[in-house]
C-alpha cells in the first residue's frame, strides 16, 4: 500500500516544477544535513541544469549530465550511493536516528575554471510522510476519502511520536554531557587544589633544607 502510494505521488512530483534552487561549481560537492529519527522515510527530488556560455542561460537538459547522490548515516555508513540522471528522485529510510548527510556531486569531467560554467540544482526534500494525499481526489466515495485522510493523519502522528522518541535520546545525551562537564570541573578543581597544596609544602621543605645546608639559616 505504502509503495503504491509513493509511486503514485512520484508521478505528480516529477511533473511539478521544482522550486528552490542554488548554484554550484561543476565538480563541487554540496551537502545538506537531515537530523531525523530512525525508521523515517526521506524522499528527495532534484533537477540539475548546466550553464551554457553560448546562450548565456541554463540548458533545459544537458545530455550525459548526471548526479552522484550519496547518503551517509550518523555512523559514517553509506546508505545510498548512486548515479542518477539530470533529473531524479531518490529515497532512503534511516535505520539509526541522527544526522544523515545527503551529498550531491555531478559526474561532469569538465573543470569550472576552464569551461566557465556552473550548475543549477533544484532541490526538494521531504522527510516523513506529511505530504498531502492527492490520490484521495480520485475517490468518488466520500467515506473512502475520509478514510484516506485519516490514514494520512495517523502517519503524521506516528512521525510525531518517532520524533519525540528521538528527542528523548538526544535529551539524555545532552544531560550526560552536562553531568560529565560538571564532574570534570569538580574533579579537576580538587586535583588542582591538591597539586597546589602538595607542591607548596614541597617548595617550603625543599627551600628550608637548602638554606639549612647552605648555613644561611
Amino acid at each position: 500500500m505504502k509503495s503504491k502510494l509513493i509511486g503514485f505521488l512520484m508521478n505528480f512530483w516529477i511533473s511539478f516544477s521544482l522550486a528552490l534552487y542554488f548554484h554550484t561549481g561543476e565538480r563541487e560537492e554540496k551537502c545538506i544535513i537531515e537530523d531525523i529519527p530512525s525508521d523515517t522515510l526521506v524522499v528527495g527530488n532534484y533537477k540539475v541544469q548546466r550553464w551554457d556560455i553560448h546562450t548565456h542561460g541554463f540548458l533545459e537538459s544537458a545530455p550525459g549530465l548526471g548526479m552522484f547522490v550519496t547518503v551517509t548515516s550518523p555512523t559514517a555508513e553509506v546508505l545510498l550511493s548512486k548515479l542518477y540522471g539530470p533529473q531524479g528522485t531518490f529515497t532512503f529510510t534511516s535505520y539509526i536516528s541522527g544526522e544523515h548527510i545527503i551529498c550531491f556531486q555531478s559526474n561532469s569531467t569538465r573543470f569550472a575554471v576552464i569551461a566557465g560554467s556552473k550548475l543549477r540544482i533544484h532541490l526538494d526534500i521531504r522527510v516523513g510522510e506529511h505530504f498531502l494525499d492527492e490520490s484521495a481526489i480520485q475517490a468518488k466515495d466520500k467515506v473512502n476519502e475520509v478514510n484516506i485522510r485519516l490514514e494520512h493523519l495517523i502517519e503524521q502522528i506516528h512521525h510525531v511520536t518517532r520524533e519525540q522518541d528521538y528527542e528523548r535520546e538526544r535529551e539524555e545525551k545532552f544531560r550526560k554531557k552536562s553531568e560529565e562537564t560538571n564532574s570534570n570541573i569538580l574533579w579537576w578543581a580538587i586535583v588542582q587544589t591538591l597539586i597546589l597544596i602538595s607542591v607548596g609544602i614541597w617548595q617550603i621543605k625543599s627551600l628550608r633544607d637548602f638554606f639549612i645546608s647552605k648555613k644561611l639559616v
Binding site: 509511486g7 508521478n11 481526489i137 485522510r149 510525531v160 538526544r170 554531557k177
Partner: protein, 216 residues
C-alpha cells in the same frame, strides 16, 4: 497503477489540483556554511503570494550569520548582520526569482550549520471546495482541525529540536574547553612551582661562590 517515473496522462481535474498544490511549497534545508563563504538560494514566486523565511544557526562560533533577501529587481527586502535566529514574512510584490543569501564572511575559521525554512503560499485546503455541494461534514472538519494541529506540532518540534541541538553544541564546547583548560592549568602549576624552587636555589648557589672568592 502507472509505473514509477513515467508521465501518465493526467485527468483535467487532477491537473488543476496539482497546479493548485504547486502554489504552496515549503523547503527546509540544513546545510554547513564554511568560513568566509556565502550561500545563496533562489525561488520563483508569483505575485501576491505570502512567503515566510525563517532561519536559525545551529552550531559554530557565536551561532550567528548574515542574511539577506532580495526581490527580482535587486531591492533588498530583508538584511540582518550576525543574527542567531529570525523569521521574516513578506508578500511578493511582483513575479520573478527571489534570492536569499547566508553569509559567513565575517568569520575566519568557524564553520556554521544553518537551518532555514522557506514557506511559499498557504497550504491547499484538505477538502477543496471546487466540487462540493454541501458544507464539510463533521468527520471532514475534524480531520481538518487535526491536520492543522499536527502541522503546528511538527513545526514546534522542529524548533525545539534546533534549540536542543544548539544547546547541546554549546555544552559539548564547554566540556572540551573545561577539560583542556584544567589539564593545561595543572601542568602550568606544576612547571611554575618546581621551576621557582630551582631558580631560587640557583640564585643562592651563585652568591656563595662570589662570597668565598671575596673572602680569600
Amino acid at each position: 497503477m502507472p509505473p514509477r517515473g513515467s508521465r501518465a496522462p493526467l485527468p483535467p481535474l487532477l491537473l488543476v489540483w496539482a497546479l493548485a498544490a504547486c502554489a504552496a511549497r515549503a523547503s527546509e534545508i540544513t546545510f554547513e556554511l564554511p568560513d568566509n563563504a556565502k550561500q545563496c538560494f533562489y525561488e520563483e514566486i508569483a505575485q501576491g503570494t505570502k512567503c515566510t523565511l525563517e532561519f536559525q544557526v545551529i552550531t559554530g562560533g557565536h551561532y550567528d550569520v548574515d542574511c539577506r533577501l532580495e526581490d527580482p529587481d535587486g531591492i533588498v527586502l530583508y538584511k540582518e548582520m550576525k543574527k542567531q535566529y529570525d523569521s521574516f514574512t513578506f508578500t511578493a510584490s511582483r513575479n520573478g526569482t527571489y534570492k536569499f543569501c547566508f553569509s559567513n564572511e565575517f568569520s575566519t575559521f568557524t564553520h556554521k550549520t544553518v537551518y532555514f525554512d522557506f514557506q511559499v503560499g498557504e497550504d491547499p485546503p484538505l477538502f477543496p471546495s471546487e466540487n462540493r455541494v454541501t458544507a464539510l461534514t463533521q468527520m471532514e472538519s475534524a480531520c481538518v482541525s487535526i491536520h492543522e494541529a499536527l502541522k503546528s506540532v511538527i513545526d514546534y518540534q522542529t524548533h525545539f529540536r534546533l534549540r536542543e541541538a544548539q544547546g547541546r553544541s554549546r555544552a559539548e564546547d564547554l566540556n572540551t574547553r573545561v577539560a583542556y583548560w584544567s589539564i593545561g592549568e595543572a601542568i602550568i602549576l606544576l612547571v611554575v612551582s618546581i621551576g621557582q624552587v630551582f631558580l631560587l636555589k640557583s640564585f643562592f648557589s651563585d652568591k656563595r661562590t662570589t662570597t668565598t672568592r671575596v673572602g680569600s
